[in-house]
Symmetry: C3
Subunit: 345 residues, 3 copies
């Protein structure tokens, strides 16, 4: 694909900065700054503007606060959003045949919308509903009476167990397990008796779920992931968890049973949460932290057990000084003993 800078500027609703003839520059691809070669367009925001200027890129998308730039540039309100638009433009869409592959197995009472792809060896059980434009890759299993929305993308090897609901414009990556049994047992005379997990999982619209993530069905009622939340690889959500809207759950995070998480919450990588607690909106949990009790809205927490980030920083700093403190105390003890000896004399 080949586009002029003028065409790209129009697409991202930006303004070309520099010479008039820049608008005829031909762009053949879009990349990050580090991988940019001639013919590429990239984007930069402070403090990366200089780095992008020194790159071999043909042009750079910059914020509209930039009025001078040593390279052909397009000024836009939000360079990151423009970058996404350009990536979409230059990314050839994988060629998905809109058909039910003859090897896909569909149960009875399956309802499939228009323009759907169900690829080879997918198994769709009785009573499943699939919305328009949805694409289901090979080796996927969808259990009885589950409902999948429209414009949804399910990659290979995904399992969605019975009676679950997946919304519209959802993306589920390879190997994710949705609706597996929650981990519930009653211990009686030393034996662990399984508590039937008869609830389901509800995944709302625009959710993304990472590769090999696991989301357990509720004991009764539903495990819920609300609209716009993005879940990374190998994340675990236990039974009856509720995650609010537009959250980020970064890789290898685990949320224990019945935790209720507000909207716009970020769990950074390898974090966790104890079960049966409530986390307010807009909280951020730094990497590897994990709360063990309720967290008020708008908190920035770190450490384990998670506490306010400033407090954690002070404690971590103090731990670094500990060997020195031990020396100081020894010194104090010696000096004090000396004084006490003098007193006694």
């Amino acid at each position: 694909m080949k586009k002029t800078l003028k065409e790209l500027a129009a697409l991202v609703e930006g303004v070309i900065l520099g010479e008039t003839d820049f608008e005829n520059i031909e762009i053949t691809g879009v990349t990050g700054i580090e991988d940019a070669g001639p013919g590429n367009i990239t984007f930069a925001v402070p403090p990366h503007l200089d780095k992008a200027a020194r790159s071999p890129a043909a042009a750079v998308v910059v914020p509209d606060t930039v009025y001078q730039y040593p390279k052909p540039a397009i000024r836009v309100a939000n360079p990151r959003v423009a970058f996404v638009t350009l990536l979409n433009l230059f990314t050839p869409q994988p060629d998905v045949k809109r058909e039910i592959h003859p090897s896909a197995i569909l149960g009875t009472g399956v309802s499939i919308g228009g323009n759907v792809a169900v690829m080879a060896y997918a198994v769709i059980e009785d009573g499943v509903t699939i919305g328009n434009n949805t694409v289901i890759y090979p080796h996927t299993y969808i259990g009885h009476n589950s409902r999948i929305g429209g414009d949804t993308l399910i990659y290979p090897g995904v399992t969605i167990r019975e009676n679950c609901q997946v919304g519209n414009r959802v993306i589920i990556h390879s190997g994710a397990a949705i609706g597996s049994d929650g981990f519930g047992f009653v211990t009686f005379n030393g034996q662990h008796i399984k508590v039937p997990q008869v609830g389901n999982v509800i995944i709302e619209d625009e959710v993304e779920i990472g590769a090999n993530a696991t989301i357990d069905r509720a004991t009764t009622s539903s495990t819920i992931v609300r609209q716009g939340t993005k879940i990374d690889n190998l994340v675990h959500l236990a039974h009856n968890v509720e995650i609010g809207e537009n959250c980020f759950l970064v890789a290898q995070t685990g949320i224990a049973g019945s935790a209720k998480v507000g909207s716009n919450v970020t769990f950074a990588g390898q974090t966790g949460s104890a079960g049966h607690l409530t986390i307010g909106d807009n909280c951020v949990f730094a990497a590897r932290s994990a709360p063990i009790s309720d967290v008020p809205a708008n908190s920035f927490y770190a450490g384990f057990p998670a506490r306010p980030h400033g407090e954690w920083l002070r404690a971590e700093g103090a731990i670094g000084k500990l060997p020195e403190l031990i020396k100081k105390i020894r010194n104090l003890e010696q000096r004090l003993a000396k004084l006490e000896n003098k007193e006694e004399k």
Copy 2:
């Protein structure tokens, strides 16, 4: 389904508490307290008795230590066990066709018991044995000469490699990998030479294994999970690990190679264990803890490296006081210097 309170009381071997005509109350479902609606029965133990009483539930299963209750109730010795019985009663069993699906591929010398389901696109290699009443979901792979017991349930996308043994009444959730190679290498002239992993995995009766969990085969001999142990999602057991009976391994726990774990041990969420160590019976490891040396039976450990829970609590408490301690030491230093100056004069 509709049952009278009288019928339910008989089933759970309990006694109805309250008015005589309570026995005709009709129950249409069973749920947790929070989700209870009219027509539902739920259960409650202290301190949740009041909460259940205030819920819209039609009736509540309570401990037999309760003699008065503001709502229709059934008194039983163990409300949790009764709850499991009721859940099983009201849960429609998924309709599993007992057949070898024509698309399932069976090798030579495969022995399959009675009343078994092998679903679509399962691949069962030569010499595999499967016991009576076992259900194998689609896209499952069972390697050469592995033996699967009776009344066992294997969900979609599970891989069980060659020569492994899975017991009776075992449940394996979607995407679990049993019998993958242990992580064993000999480093020689800077290259890592693979040590063939020629052992296997033995899963005893009544074990449950979570979604996308991984249990590696032994280098030689066996990786073993003993009877009644329950393993949650994304748990990792390395080669030659042995887990005793009736343990809990909660989500995202990882046990390193050759660790020997006793019976009735609980590893809470996101815990771990170093390799080549021995952990006694009845130990409990708090969330995110991990022992790095042997642990005696009946220990309650926390932190990393894991230590007795009380010790961990004291250390954590002390860390919280550190910034204050630093101030105190500074203050002591100043006061002491003042005294010393006076002395010198």
Copy 3:
């Protein structure tokens, strides 16, 4: 299989230690010390020489620094390497039919080398290339235009998305997801807009990837795992990560986006790394540690945030002494107050 000690000594280029007639001893299997029975050969290096001598093993492979041994032995330069050779000798190779199974689905323009096995229900999309002698197990998915090298082994249920490259002599265990989308979003007006992940994954020669591990494709350019690196189960590599040659990434490790890791680096179990940082060659990260900034070559780090191991040990030791320190400070305060009182009088 039955081999004389003489034959085995020749195979591992070792020398029999002890009586001349030891060379006729018949060996029927090879095991670790703990599982050794009569007829077995095992290996031992200090401090395990005595343990092996007391085992029921028929013979032991020992280092050539050993000149006397109470049991038939073979002296070799490297007993571990000899052990691998013996394991390979005594391990029956699984019988893999070299054929494209009729149920495997191959797209157009697929190029397959000689002596390849593509097993049941594998799905190979258009334009894929597979080298000689490669074995692909059932339920594997290989996306458009991906290239798989020769002598490579891909176990069941693996997904390799489009445009990825996998080298020669690579092993990928069950359920691994290669080339899933990186976790990249631009947040705009509170919504998380997906950044298309249009790069790929490059797995070089002799890499091993564990069960249910996930390696995300780059946003643009490539996520790279270089030659000879070994990755354990449930490890996560984010987009644009680069891992050098001959590294070890032990189970449940997670490397965040764009981290660049040198060669011969070890990440022990349950470690992690922050994104966008550089880790030098030959670093070792102790179990559960995670760096949050650049790490120079040859570092041995522990803890979180990861710091030099000695420093971590001192801090951990000091934390253990904290309750005692608090007492000491209280004592110092009392004694000092007493002295100050005297002064005032």
